[in-house]
Amino acid sequence: MTDRIRSHWHALLPVFAVWTVLVAITQVSVLESARPASAYVLVAIAGLTALKVALVIFSYMEVSRAPLWLKAACVAWITIALGTVTVLMVFPQWSVALVNQGVSPLLAAHDNTSAEDDK
């Protein structure tokens, strides 16, 4: 019986510990989001979200025991997905200007090609 309880404990304790941390981070995120909107608050909430996602991936999905390529793919996804969104929200005008700067020459090239085709 003791062995059975011990094995249950070993199996379920890490799951419960991660659940507790996830719920705690969620509560902190909600409290942070209630503060006056600022870049600091947004970055803080994005960071907490990234932490929650990483916990789910590496603990519940058991990616921590996966090959390096899978760990790297997951870390890359978290960084790119949340990084892109955070930059777009924290620096909206800069992001829009940067994208427009990159897209404008492409659009101009497309317009020139279309004009030549019309001729």
Partner: protein, 217 residues
Amino acid sequence: MNLPGTGAPACAAPRMGDAAREVQARGARASHVPGEAELWILILGDMIVFGLFFAIWGWNHATQPELFAWGGAQMNRALGLANTLVLITSSAAVASGLNLARLGRSHEARLSYAAAAALGCTFVVLKAIEYGQHIAAGADALGNSYFMYYFVFTGIHLLHVVVGITALLFVMQGCRRLQPGAPPAEGDVVFLESVGVFWHLVDLLWIVLFFLIYLVR
């Protein structure tokens, strides 16, 4: 036939201590892809698609800040938070179910998966209530770009939840076939891991959606 990793005959009923050691041995195994390796093509593909959805949301937030500030104010944050806690708890139930199944506790594992499926159904009901509130307030997917993206992205996520619940129901049926007290076969563990990985994907995608839709102002 030997049980994987132990060298013990499958016909010998293992004691719980053996089962625990089996779990530890599997846990300590290096470079183990959780679930079916091919499933990860779908999982990573889904993550990339949702990554694009998140970027589209961020881009529209950057180019239409007033509309997205107004849209954010229309959201029911209590329901969003409730749904987040529901999915986090269901993920914990699925992880517990997998660990219990590995220990040969098939009955407890089945209860864990049943709890996860019930929590998944709760998510669907809460989401339906939230959709109903928005539609009753005159907001629909064709109203403006905020609600179009909101309904499309959360709708596609909801579809994932329904698929996940269906998979959990299959797992519950599968747990009936497991021999109580004995660690499951390698193939059964791979199936349980695969369903678990999909359900955790549903959870982590919602965690990001919760951040974008309910927390950002």
